[in-house]
């Protein structure tokens, strides 16, 4: 008989690195999933991807300077991300280019610049860590960084919440009553960058977007209110992280991708069985209501 305790709890009871991985990825989910809901609702789902590419060269430069240093790689990633977000916003505001074009141009420049710089140094950098993370090797400092990032992200989101919602629904109205529109926009982009940078230590730059976005998409099928979506997204993020870590332990698969695959499974299940516009519910023969 399969013992659920052995299957789900023992790996964490036995190994400290498993517990660290669990705590780290839960912190990431709590910080990143609410951000993902806003990105999705603002039709900016691909902005996370663009930002992840923008961050990569910064992190790689940090690595060139100081090796696998948490501080340098984090600072490099943050700076590269902020610069790209700011320049893209600036070009959107003062030229004819729309936001997607401006963002795409700068992340591509950043990415190409990063690759050139790395190759100029002539060192054979092992960027696998940056690309795919190392969720099973989180040390104390990294855990602390993930926890701080999640806390800062949640608190900032609470502060920005109202103007951010209004900036999404009715930007022209926000402009007539307040000038907090651009503050909330840039503040929000800064939170995207912060969460992606925190995420790359565990999941890598490319996959940390996955934990941010995929639970948000799944949550769309379980709630039609903003609060509900944020709750469901965070919950699905935490569940995917836990499940992914356990599965990767037993199946010997790389942990980061397994976490995102778990989120992907939740997403597919949500499309099928979701309470709000799930496919099964839509196909069931149900009589319409009177009003």
């Amino acid at each position: 008989m399969i013992n659920l305790f052995d299957l789900l709890i023992m790996p964490f009871a036995d190994f400290a690195f498993m517990r660290r991985a669990l705590i780290g990825s839960i912190a990431l989910s709590i910080g990143a999933c609410p951000i993902g809901v806003f990105l999705m609702l603002r039709r900016m789902s691909l902005v996370g991807d663009a930002m992840a590419h923008a961050i990569l060269p910064g992190a790689a430069l940090g690595y060139l300077f100081a090796g696998l240093s948490l501080g340098f790689m984090t600072a490099g990633g943050l700076i590269a991300g902020f610069i790209v977000a700011l320049l893209a916003g600036l070009v959107t505001r003062i030229t004819i280019l729309k936001e997607d074009a401006a963002l795409a141009s700068f992340y591509l420049i950043s990415l190409a610049g990063g690759v050139v710089l790395v190759s100029l140094r002539g060192s054979n950098v092992d960027v696998l860590h940056v690309l795919f993370g190392s969720v099973l090797a989180l040390d104390d400092h990294t855990l602390l960084l993930l926890a701080i990032a999640a806390s800062v992200s949640l608190l900032s989101l609470a502060v920005l919440f109202r103007p951010l919602v209004l900036e999404c629904v009715d930007p022209s109205f926000l402009r007539t009553v307040s000038n907090s529109g651009s503050l909330s926009h840039y503040g929000f982009l800064a939170l995207v960058v912060l969460n992606l940078v925190a995420g790359f230590h565990a999941l890598g730059t490319l996959l940390s977007v996955g934990l941010m976005m995929v639970p948000a998409f799944a949550a769309r099928f379980w709630s039609s209110t903003l609060d509900g979506m944020i709750l469901f997204a965070t919950l699905i993020g935490v569940l995917s992280s836990s499940l992914g870590i356990v599965i990767s332990y037993h199946a010997g698969t790389p942990t980061g991708p397994t976490i995102i695959l778990s989120a992907g499974a939740f997403y597919l299940l949500s499309i099928l069985f979701g309470q709000k516009n799930g496919l099964i519910l839509r196909l069931l023969p149900r009589k319409h209501l009177v009003a």
Partner: protein, 249 residues
């Protein structure tokens, strides 16, 4: 509700436009405090542009716009296009954003504010719609919600841009009733409209715009065949080879 102070809006040789091409050219005049004015004219006459400038979201290329009080409470309802109707926000939350000046990003609604939201929804004929999401409303219902928010804003100057486009007659007559009520309360109202019969029946004053001010005054004097014919011959805006304007400012 406190009696709103009235405020005038004076245009002093105002030129508005985009990328140096004027859309509204050297317009002067005054929307008197407590007046109810319809802004009419052909498409591309600069009506919406004028409203944007008064609302403060577009900077004049030339001239100034002066208002009766230093920072008058101003409410602006642009055309529907800019609203994201798919965003999951409830009717009462959207109407509540009308309190922004009072509660900003952080303060709570008072119980009075909540009461006022309920009362206002009743006035626009949407009792019980509080928790409905924006995406479930019809076009007419959405316009009622936006009128409710205008009322919550309790503004001295109200700007509405084509509020009755694609809306059924029942809704139009309800909303016109609200506009008249605001007028009786002494608010200054400026509305961009296309329906001349509405203008003739309900709007005492009228500004006929065709990039320049064709005529401005009592509606009965403005809606003449001569004026309307003149408005139709307006010069096309945005001629790429236009010379710089040398008219004295």
């Amino acid at each position: 509700m406190t009696k709103p102070r009235a405020s005038f809006v004076q245009l002093k040789d105002v030129t508005l436009g985009y990328d140096r091409h004027p859309a509204v050219h050297h317009v002067s005049g005054c929307f008197e405090a407590g007046s109810l004015t319809a802004v009419i004219g052909p498409n591309g006459a600069g009506k919406s542009t004028l409203l944007k400038a008064i609302a403060g979201t577009l900077k004049p290329l030339d001239g100034t716009i002066v208002m009766g009080t230093d920072s008058p409470r101003l409410a602006y309802l642009p055309q529907l296009a800019e609203l994201d109707r798919d965003f999951p926000i409830s009717v009462e939350d959207l109407v509540g954003t009308g309190f922004w000046r009072k509660i900003g990003s952080f303060r709570r609604y008072s119980s009075n504010d909540r009461l006022l939201i309920d009362e206002t929804l009743e006035k626009v004929g949407l009792v019980g719609f509080n928790k409905r999401l924006l995406g479930t409303l019809s076009g007419g219902q959405l316009q009622r919600v936006l009128f409710a928010r205008l009322m919550v804003q309790d503004a001295e100057i109200i700007l509405i841009d084509e509020p009755f486009a694609a809306i059924d007659t029942k809704t139009v007559s309800d909303l016109i009733g609200l506009v008249q009520h605001w007028h009786h309360e002494g608010r200054t109202i400026i509305a961009v409209l296309h329906d001349m019969s509405l203008v003739a029946e309900f709007f005492p004053d009228c500004l006929l715009l065709a990039r320049e001010c064709v005529a401005w005054g009592a509606t009965s004097h403005i809606l003449t065949p001569d004026h309307l014919a003149k408005a139709r011959t307006m010069i096309e805006a945005n001629d790429p080879h236009a010379d710089t304007c040398e008219r004295a400012a």
